[in-house]
């Protein structure tokens, strides 16, 4: 078998094992939280009688282990089940939210990844001169400010004062792509500002590292322009660490943006998961948790495969 296929198969099976472990852990931790779904739903209006009725209906009287294996059995057959709190089909509601999250993450990535890499290359090209310092200063400033603060400041100036963007990033199926992009303009801007510095700095550091090598000197002696040397000779050899950082940031864009979702009232997965945890809606928590874990594991695997493909020494092991 080709070593790369072997690696992919190995990684996939390991990933699936990891997913099981993650689901068991999420289930255990959610169970360990104080209170249960019935109490969370009824809140201050709970009476012992209505609590008992609701627990019965939600199936909370079954032992925890058998509920977990019921869920596991369901997911094996592709059935995510339904929420125990509002009875909606999980696949459907998660699907919508996941679509929204991926939509936002996709456009944030489309803007931020090329921009970060380009800025990184630019910083190397003008190393230690004013463009390099300016780029670093700006990106490091924006990464240091909490994202909710950037969000509020942008909403205040751009949406409330200037009336350019929209304060609420509400998207739904009846909107055209243009309307949707207009709605998510501000959150995309915030997310870009948040993830830019990390990727840009890594690109800069990785390429500078390579720039010390002898073959770069050779390329320069051949008379190639500085930018050509960076783009054609230095960048491909620096790809591996860059891809790793890019993937980490992509994963963040999918699983870590709950604060931005709250600020812009964006109907994504983060808020959905938080609501489910608050209401102890275990099947929904599990579904979201497993999806998040799968995205994380998947993106990391992709990063590894790309770095192997980019590196001849790893591509052709002896």
């Amino acid at each position: 078998m080709h070593p790369i296929i072997k690696l992919v198969v190995q990684r996939l099976s390991l990933g699936i094992l990891l997913l099981f472990a993650a689901s068991a852990m999420i289930f255990g931790l959610t169970e360990a939280l104080p209170g249960d779904a019935a109490q969370a739903v009824l809140g201050q209006t709970a009476t012992p009688e209505s609590l008992a009725n609701l627990r019965e209906e939600m199936g909370l009287n079954e032992p925890a282990i058998s509920r977990y294996f019921d869920w596991l059995g369901g997911i094996m057959t592709g059935d995510l089940g339904s929420s125990i709190v509002n009875r909606l089909d999980i696949a459907e509601s998660v699907g919508k939210r996941l679509g929204n999250t991926l939509f936002l993450a996709f456009w944030a990535a489309v803007v931020s990844v090329p921009l970060a890499i380009f800025l990184g290359l630019l910083a190397v090209r003008y190393r230690d001169r004013w463009p390099d310092k300016l780029i670093s200063a700006i990106t490091l400033t924006t990464i240091s400010i909490p994202e909710f603060l950037i969000g509020y400041v942008l909403v205040y100036f751009l949406a409330v004062k200037m009336g350019w963007g929209t304060a609420l990033a509400m998207v739904n199926d009846s909107m055209s792509l243009g309307q949707k992009l207009n709605a998510i303009a501000l959150p995309v801007l915030v997310l870009t500002l948040v993830v830019l510095a990390h990727m840009m700095r890594m690109t800069r550091a990785a390429i500078l590292n390579v720039m010390q090598s002898a073959y770069i000197e050779t390329a320069e002696l051949k008379g190639l322009s500085v930018f050509n040397v960076i783009a054609k000779h230095a960048f491909p050899n620096a790809v591996s660490p860059i891809v790793n950082v890019v993937m980490l940031n992509l994963a963040y864009l999918v699983v870590g943006v709950v604060v931005v979702e709250v600020v812009f009232v964006y109907p994504g997965m983060g808020q959905f998961l938080v609501d489910a945890v608050t209401k102890r809606d275990v099947p929904v928590v599990l579904a979201c948790g497993v999806i998040f874990a799968a995205i994380y594991i998947g993106l990391n695997m992709l990063a590894d495969i790309i770095s192997i493909l980019a590196n001849p020494r790893l591509r052709h092991p002896k």
Binding site: A167, L168, V265
Partner: protein, 527 residues
């Protein structure tokens, strides 16, 4: 002056002037506030409601776990949802009087044990079915039978039997209750076809707006129902958007993406009111922020200690700093002037450190720290309020120790379990309901463990008393008992503080709930 006044009236009629602006401007012309108030109302109503428009509300309290089952409503978004698609049998208006909704008239037997509601004829559900008294019976059964998991189960307990005869829905109670119609106005009790026994969460009712989009935790869209029986409800469509973050809510209102928001934070209300296209509306209500002690648990089983703590809290300071003036001081009882039959003559308890120290000494408390549990989720500003309380108590020599609890799980693990904690009550439309819910010895939610046989007897007696003056005297006596012996420290009653776009006319505050007690989409219109 007349020209000027006519101009202002016209502007008010078009909704371009808020009530407050109108009063301010007319008083500059020498018109008294009372006269100006009447003028404003006439001007606004003379112009008359206009039909049409897509109305959007940004509301706190929407989660992805929400359901359209009215029995499960426990926060603001489901509350407003209920009032879009559903109708209750009766309602309670801004002045605290019962109004007929799906009931055309109400009669009771002389002993207030049997109540008859004549059901409105020719009312159509969204699914085309015609409303019958049988639907009403089924609805009430679903909320009160032994399988019920309704938030209204607590108030339905006193019912012995219900039946439908022709167009009449009649209820027989175990004990007399002069306030039964108020119980039927509860926001969970939306009348559904066959009582929602078959499909509780489809949002099919007799209300003015028909459910179009149901995305829990995101938005709920409704369109005007053509077959609606009433003459109110002027919008073409209504959208309720869940915006839990308060800054996002105000930004959405300011940028014009929504027309009304609830729960404006008191600290930004003043600023928001200065925005040119927004009015901040403040409505006094029965909701109150409290610190509750279990009167049957040491050390709070000692009334001297309870009185010491009650005297050691600075109510004015709390209203000033926690509510920023959007509220009023409490008097250690759950009732205020928002309730009918409230006795304004009950003496207001004052902040008195000398008395607090005296009672503390008399209590013989051993000086160990008294633990007060709080979380931000108990009420907005609860942690700050507890810190203020701690300082004033320390000045009286009472050692309070604040234990901060997580918001998550606060209502299941701390409230009604720990002997001393912060909490809030939304209040109820009538005194009987408030006392029966939380102060009767046997009440499930007796979160102060106030158990007093004499009080219970008075409560039952007042329930059956049909004479208003006598009832008022009984309630006054009960209020004083809770105030002097209960475990409730009630420093403040909070107002509903809401932001409304100036494009909306017909505002009429209702103390029973936020955004006009859920009636905004029915009574307001775009000017």
């Amino acid at each position: 002056m007349t020209n000027e006044l006519d101009y202002l009236k016209r502007r008010a009629g078009q909704g371009k002037l808020s009530r407050r602006e109108f009063l301010g401007k007319t008083s500059a012309l020498g018109v008294s506030a009372a006269a100006a108030g009447t003028m404003f109302a006439t001007a606004v109503h003379a112009e008359g409601p206009k039909k049409g428009g897509d109305f959007k509300i940004g509301s706190v309290g929407g989660e992805s776990t929400n359901s359209l089952d009215p029995a499960a409503a426990a926060s603001q978004v489901p509350y407003h949802n209920n009032y879009q698609w559903g109708d209750t049998l009766v309602g309670v208006d801004g002045s605290g009087a019962v109004t007929n909704i799906l009931a055309e008239s109400i009669e009771s037997s002389a002993d207030a044990k049997t109540w008859m509601f004549n059901i409105r004829k020719d009312v159509e559900f969204h699914n085309g079915k015609t409303l019958t008294a049988e639907d009403v019976v089924k609805t009430m059964e679903r909320h009160s039978n032994e399988d019920s998991k309704s938030g209204a189960l607590g108030i339905m307990k006193g019912i012995e039997s219900m039946k439908a005869e022709g167009d009449v829905f009649s209820v027989t109670l175990k004990d007399a209750n002069a306030d039964l119609p108020y119980l039927m106005a509860d926001y969970h009790l939306m009348i559904q076809p066959n009582g929602g026994m078959d499909a509780p969460d489809t949002g099919v009712g007799t209300g003015p707006y028909k459910m179009e989009v149901n995305e829990p935790g995101v938005r709920h869209v409704y369109s005007k129902f053509d077959g609606y029986w009433g003459s109110d409800a002027h919008f073409d469509s209504v959208e309720i958007i869940a915006i839990n973050d308060s800054t996002a809510r105000t930004a959405a209102l300011q940028s014009g993406q929504v027309h009304a928001v609830n729960r404006v934070e008191p600290k930004v209300a003043g600023l928001l009111d200065r925005a040119p296209n927004i009015n901040v509306m403040s409505t006094a209500g029965p909701g109150h922020y409290v610190f509750i002690m279990h009167a049957d648990t040491a050390p709070f089983d000692n009334n001297e200690l309870r009185l010491a703590l009650k005297h050691a809290i600075n109510r004015e300071e709390m209203v000033d700093k926690i509510l920023r003036g959007y509220g009023s001081v409490g008097n250690d009882m759950p009732i205020n002037a928002a309730y009918p039959l409230f006795d304004t003559g009950i003496e207001q308890r004052a902040f008195d450190l000398a008395k607090a120290a005296e009672h503390y000494k008399a209590s013989g408390h051993d000086g160990s720290p008294i633990i007060l549990r709080v979380a931000d989720g108990a009420f907005p500003g609860a942690v700050d309020a507890a810190a203020l309380f701690q300082q004033t108590a320390a000045a009286a020599g009472i050692p309070l120790e604040i234990k901060r609890e997580p918001n998550d799980g606060y209502w299941s693990e701390v409230w009604n379990k720990q002997p001393f904690c912060a909490s809030y009550w939304g209040g109820r439309p009538v005194q009987d309901q408030m006392y029966s819910t939380a102060y009767l010895s046997t009440a499930d939610w007796n979160d102060t463990r106030f158990k007093n046989a004499e009080f219970d007897a008075l409560l039952i007696q007042a329930r059956a008393e049909l004479d208003g003056d006598k009832r008022k005297a009984l309630y006054s006596q009960m209020g004083t008992m809770v105030r002097d012996e209960g475990g409730l420290i009630c420093p403040m009653f909070n107002d509903f503080v809401e932001g409304v776009s100036t494009s909306v006319a017909g505002w009429n505050g209702n103390p029973n709930g936020d955004l006009m007690g859920g009636q905004m989409t029915r009574q307001c219109w775009f000017a």
